[in-house]
């Protein structure tokens, strides 16, 4: 069972918010004594997702949670936006697929960096992406 220990909601609509969000994620990761490599993975994943949110949906909300399962602690991030949504999630999860002019590594790359990755999207309503990174693992 996974328990949520703390919850922090951050609105991200401006570029300054992105910097603030990254700092909060980092603080949270440091607080649960996440190792440096995992911190870097989590921050990079967060950076990818928040960029997508800014680029395709003009911003959204990120919830930072500290979760606990047994002895293991982790950070869960939920990014939700009210953007255009993703019509074909399977395609979006493939390496090299991009509707923008980027490399198309954002979503599949992010999935490789974290322990759990969940994506829900409805065209015209928005996208919710949840990622979880355990402190050890």
């Amino acid at each position: 069972m996974t328990l949520s220990l703390s919850k922090d909601t951050i609105q991200v609509f401006k570029e300054q918010d992105v910097v603030f969000l990254k700092n909060r994620v980092k603080e949270t990761a440091v607080r649960i004594k996440m190792g440096l490599v995992n911190q870097t993975r989590l921050l990079t994943a967060a950076s990818e997702l928040v960029r997508n949110m800014m680029r395709y949906a003009n911003g959204g909300v990120c919830i930072i949670e500290v979760v606990s399962s047994g002895r293991n602690n982790g950070v869960r991030l939920t990014f939700s936006d009210h953007g255009p949504g993703i019509p074909d999630i399977d395609a979006a999860m493939r390496d090299g697929f991009s509707t923008g002019k980027s490399l198309g590594l954002g979503l599949p790359g992010t999935k490789r960096l974290v322990n759990e990755f969940n994506i829900k999207s409805k065209v015209g309503e928005g996208t919710v992406i949840t990622i979880l990174k355990w402190a050890n693992g």
Binding site: V37, Q39, R41, S47, R51, D95, G106, G109, L113
Partner: protein, 123 residues
């Protein structure tokens, strides 16, 4: 030579790209050395900017070497699926400078092969 001392956000990275390429042209530089030892995360966007700087400098006849990448950043980049192909890397500033010198003036240094050993991404 540029050292990046803060974590770049997107606009700053784009400015850096434009400024650097302009400077390469203005000063007819032969080499670009980018120190990223203070950068704690490189995501796909930053990786693309670094790649862009290298290829843009290349067609302006300048070589690019990225130095001082943190181990955690290297791990993350590879897992992300971004091997930074075509970007020369070196462990530190000094080795980066040697690598640049060997690339710019190959005639003076014959044993530029040994510099390859310092590459920790393309090893």
């Amino acid at each position: 030579m540029v050292t990046i001392q803060v974590d770049l956000y997107d606009r700053l990275a784009l400015n850096l790209e434009a400024d650097l390429v302009q400077m390469v042209n203005k000063t007819s530089a032969k080499g670009v050395l980018i120190d990223i030892s203070a950068v704690s995360i490189v995501d796909s966007f930053m990786g693309r900017i670094i790649g862009n700087i290298a290829s843009m400098s290349k067609i302006l006849d300048a070589e690019t070497v990225v130095v001082g990448m943190q181990p955690a950043v290297a791990i993350t980049l590879i897992e992300l699926g971004l091997p930074l192909k075509g970007v020369h890397t070196a462990l530190n500033m000094e080795k980066g400078m040697n690598l640049l010198k060997s690339m710019i003036d190959v005639t003076e240094e014959d044993e530029d092969q040994e510099q390859e050993a310092d590459d920790f991404i393309t090893e």
